[in-house]
Every structure is written in structure tokens, then in C-alpha cells.
């Protein structure tokens, strides 16, 4: 069974090599005439106003945290969905209870405004 994974590993290798070769070919074949203005960060023709590593909205963090919660939930659902036949009605109802708990959390987030983006 494990030998089925060899082609996958090779495929990953080939796709990475393809990207490296494309960029390598571009750097070899293309011209290389740098100057100060060309290499400055793009800002619609202006000189850069301030440093790029600036503050950004905390909501991006919030999205990331919520993503982790829900992604874990999906990770729980995957094996359960595969063996749904074996676990039967009992397994289904158990998962419904679990999902209900999460739905309560989801409603809480919603009411708290964590999903707002204005």
C-alpha cells in the first residue's frame, strides 16, 4: 500500500522542479539591468511613505483563530463521515450533539460581532 505513495512524492518533486526551472530560465534568459528606481517598492509612482511592516487590522487574527476552531471541527467530521455506516444512528446522534455544541459557539461568535467586517 505504501508504494502507492511513491508516485505522489515524485509528483511533488516534479511540480516543485517545474517552478524552479521556470524561474531559473526567466532569470537566465531575461535581461538584468537594475537601477535604484526600478528596485524600489511599487507605490503608484510615489516614494514609499513609511515602512511596510505596519500595523494591520486585528480582524485578520480573528479570522485565523476562528479558522482553526472550525478546521478542527472538520478534522473530527472526516473520519466520522467515512465510518457513518458502522457507527449507525447512535454515531450520527452523537455527532449531532457535538455539532449542536459548536453551533451554540458559532451563534455566540455571530452575536458578539466576530463575523462582522465593516
Amino acid at each position: 500500500m505504501l508504494e502507492n505513495y511513491i508516485p505522489i512524492l515524485m509528483f511533488m518533486g516534479v511540480s516543485l522542479v517545474l517552478g524552479v526551472v521556470a524561474i531559473g530560465a526567466g532569470s537566465v534568459l531575461g535581461p538584468n539591468k537594475p537601477n535604484k528606481d526600478k528596485l524600489s517598492p511599487y507605490e503608484c509612482g510615489f516614494e514609499a511613505f513609511e515602512h511596510t511592516r505596519m500595523k494591520f487590522d486585528v480582524r485578520y487574527y480573528l479570522v485565523a483563530i476562528l479558522f482553526i476552531v472550525f478546521d478542527l471541527e472538520i478534522a473530527f467530521l472526516f473520519p466520522w463521515a467515512v465510518v457513518l455506516d458502522e457507527v449507525g444512528i447512535f454515531g450520527f446522534l452523537a455527532m449531532v450533539v457535538f455539532l449542536l455544541v459548536l453551533v451554540v459557539g458559532f451563534i455566540f461568535e455571530w452575536m458578539k460581532g466576530a463575523l462582522e467586517w465593516e
Binding site: 508516485p7 517552478g19 521556470a22 472538520i74 465510518v83 455527532m95
Partner: protein, 347 residues
């Protein structure tokens, strides 16, 4: 012939496996790259006709050599690496975006027997690889050290991550119906004609999956990450030449991948819609190709039709519409399966 065969058998087994697999991989990647190149051409032509113009028609007969001309042009363009950027991460990012979008094809079953790696966890593998692309986006935005790139990367990453959840839930529905993580088994579970395909019993999940796929690839109408009017090209604003081309290829390869996965999971994969004469004449891989092209066409159609969403609208659609819909439908599938006589449809 016999001598060739004996020379072949004389090689060590590991080398033979290696050579055969490499040949198969090339046999998948080369047609795929040609499809990607001509998908960009199709996009320009289709959108052209939808806007009552002709689209590219100068290079070759009716413009058919346009993608090749574009590739050659980009090949000979300078790759600018800004002084303030992190040069290693800057070069790595496009590779990290292209890699997963190609590598996912390792487990795609083209027909009943044409699949490179028939592994049991293929759906999990595909889900993992489609999520990997976000690293390339974040790295590109961060390494460029440019405000537009940075903001674009934050936006795309948040959007990709938000729609990832809806996508995952839609996949759970497919798993419940098919009872297997193996893409091949998921397709064979849909055999018997168009009424057995999962897009009927799992219709809401089908819609959610496909629209999430559009959002995941940052395509119109969800392309705020590269909304030209505000942050120019988004996370790849500093990229030029081949480095940009690799991002471009990855975006189109991802679209074709999403189309192919939609076909495999909801539209019966390589199977003919009806098991009667004129439909069964068309070979299986052609059915797969026809369906994939039809689904891929929607990406282009969307772009020509819908105006761009605002960012808060995108987030609202992902969190407040798609996630509740998928959660409810997972419960509905279970109820149908265990408590109603329609269970066979969900199996």
C-alpha cells in the same frame, strides 16, 4: 523488441518504478500545462465574445498561438527583485503556489483505471494540497516588502482561509454519502446515470463547494485581493517576468483543479450521464474532460458577468451563509439516511 525488454528488465526494480512513474507524471503534467496555457487563451476569447469584441486574433490563425507567444515574451522579461525584499523568500513564493496546484493531480482518477496513485486518503491529500497554496500567497506578500503586496496577501489569505471551512464542510457531506475518502470510490459510488450523481441529493453542497472554489482561487467576483482600483495586483504586485508567469500558471491550474474536483465529487467523474448507446460511445476520459471544461467555463462566465464584491460582503457570504448552509445540510443528509426511505440516494 525482445532485446529491449531484456535490457529493461536488467535495470534494478527501483529504477524501473522510477522511470515508469516519471513517464506517467510527464504524461499528466504536459497535457495539463497545455490546458492551462489554452485556458488563458479561452478566457480572453470567451470574455471577448461576451463583451462583443473578438479577443486576441493576431498571433497565428485566429490567435491560436497567442499563449505560446505570451510564454516566450514572459520568458525574456527581466525578473525584478526589489532591494527591500527578502530575495530568497521572494523567489520561493511562486514555486510554493505552483507546486501544490500541480501535485494535487497525482490522485485525480481520469477514468476507471487511469489514476497515477490510487490511495485511500486521496480526498484528504487534495484538501491538504489545496490549502497549501495560501503559504505561497502570504510569503509573496511578506517578502515583497511593499504595502500593496502586503495588504493584498492579508486579504487573500483571510479570504482563502474563510472559504476553506465551507469547502471542508461540503466535502464532509460528500464523504457521508460516499463513505470513502478515495476519489475513485467516490466516483464509482455515483455510477448508474445522471440521477445518481451527487449534485442532486447534495445540491446545496455542490453550489457551496463550487462558489468556495471560485473564492479560493481569488477569481472574480471574489478578486478583491487584486482589485486593480485599490491595491493594483495584490500580493504579486512586485513580481515580473517568469516569476509572475508562475503565479499566473498556478492560478489557472488551480481553476482547472477545482473544476475537476467538482466533477469528481458531484458530477459523476468519468461516467456518462445515461447508460444508453450514443452516450456510451464517448470514451470515459473524454467525459471527464467535457465535464471539467464545462465547469471551468463557469469561472470565465462569472468573470464576464458579475461585478466585484466588497470585502465585507465576501466575508459575510463565507461565514454567515455558506457555513450555516453546509452545517444544516450535513444534518439533513444524516436524517435522510437513517430516518427516511430515500437513504439509498445518499449512499
Amino acid at each position: 523488441m525482445d532485446t529491449l525488454l531484456s535490457i529493461w528488465m536488467w535495470f534494478p526494480e527501483l529504477l524501473r518504478v522510477f522511470v515508469v512513474n516519471l513517464a506517467l507524471i510527464v504524461a499528466i503534467v504536459v497535457p495539463l500545462m497545455i490546458c492551462v496555457a489554452y485556458f488563458t487563451f479561452a478566457e480572453r476569447k470567451v470574455i471577448g465574445y461576451m463583451q462583443v469584441r473578438i479577443g486576441p486574433n493576431r498571433v497565428g490563425p485566429r490567435g491560436w498561438l497567442q499563449p505560446i507567444a505570451d510564454a516566450v515574451k514572459l520568458m525574456f522579461k527581466e525578473i525584478i527583485i526589489p532591494t527591500e525584499s527578502n530575495p530568497y523568500l521572494f523567489r520561493m513564493a511562486p514555486v510554493l503556489v505552483l507546486g501544490p496546484s500541480l501535485a494535487a493531480w497525482a490522485v485525480v482518477p481520469f477514468t476507471d483505471s487511469w489514476v497515477l496513485a490510487n490511495i485511500d486518503a486521496s480526498l484528504l491529500y487534495v484538501l491538504a494540497l489545496t490549502s497549501l497554496g495560501v503559504y505561497g500567497v502570504i510569503i509573496a506578500g511578506w517578502a515583497s516588502n511593499s504595502k500593496y503586496a502586503f495588504l493584498g496577501a492579508m486579504r487573500s489569505a483571510a479570504q482563502i482561509v474563510a472559504y476553506e471551512i465551507a469547502m471542508g464542510f461540503a466535502l464532509v457531506g460528500v464523504l457521508m454519502a460516499a463513505g470513502s475518502l478515495n476519489l475513485h470510490d467516490i466516483v464509482t459510488a455515483q455510477s448508474g446515470g445522471i440521477h445518481q450523481w451527487y449534485f442532486i441529493p447534495l445540491f446545496p453542497l455542490f453550489i457551496v463547494y463550487f462558489i468556495s472554489g471560485v473564492a479560493e482561487t481569488n477569481r472574480a467576483p471574489f478578486d478583491v485581493a487584486e482589485g486593480e482600483s485599490e491595491i493594483v495586483a495584490g500580493f504579486h504586485v512586485e513580481y515580473s517576468g517568469m516569476a509572475f508567469a508562475v503565479f499566473f500558471l498556478a492560478e489557472y491550474a488551480n481553476m482547472i483543479l477545482i473544476a475537476a474536483l467538482t466533477v469528481l465529487m458531484f458530477l459523476g467523474g468519468w461516467q456518462a450521464p445515461f447508460d444508453v448507446a450514443p452516450f456510451t460511445w464517448i470514451p470515459a476520459f473524454l467525459w471527464f474532460g467535457i465535464k471539467t471544461s464545462a465547469v471551468a467555463f463557469f469561472f470565465l462566465w462569472f468573470r464576464a458577468t458579475f461585478p466585484r464584491y466588497r470585502y465585507d460582503q465576501i466575508m459575510r457570504l463565507g461565514w454567515k451563509v455558506f457555513i450555516p448552509v453546509t452545517l444544516v445540510w450535513i444534518a439533513v443528509i444524516g436524517v435522510f439516511r437513517f430516518f427516511t426511505p430515500f437513504g439509498h440516494w445518499f449512499q
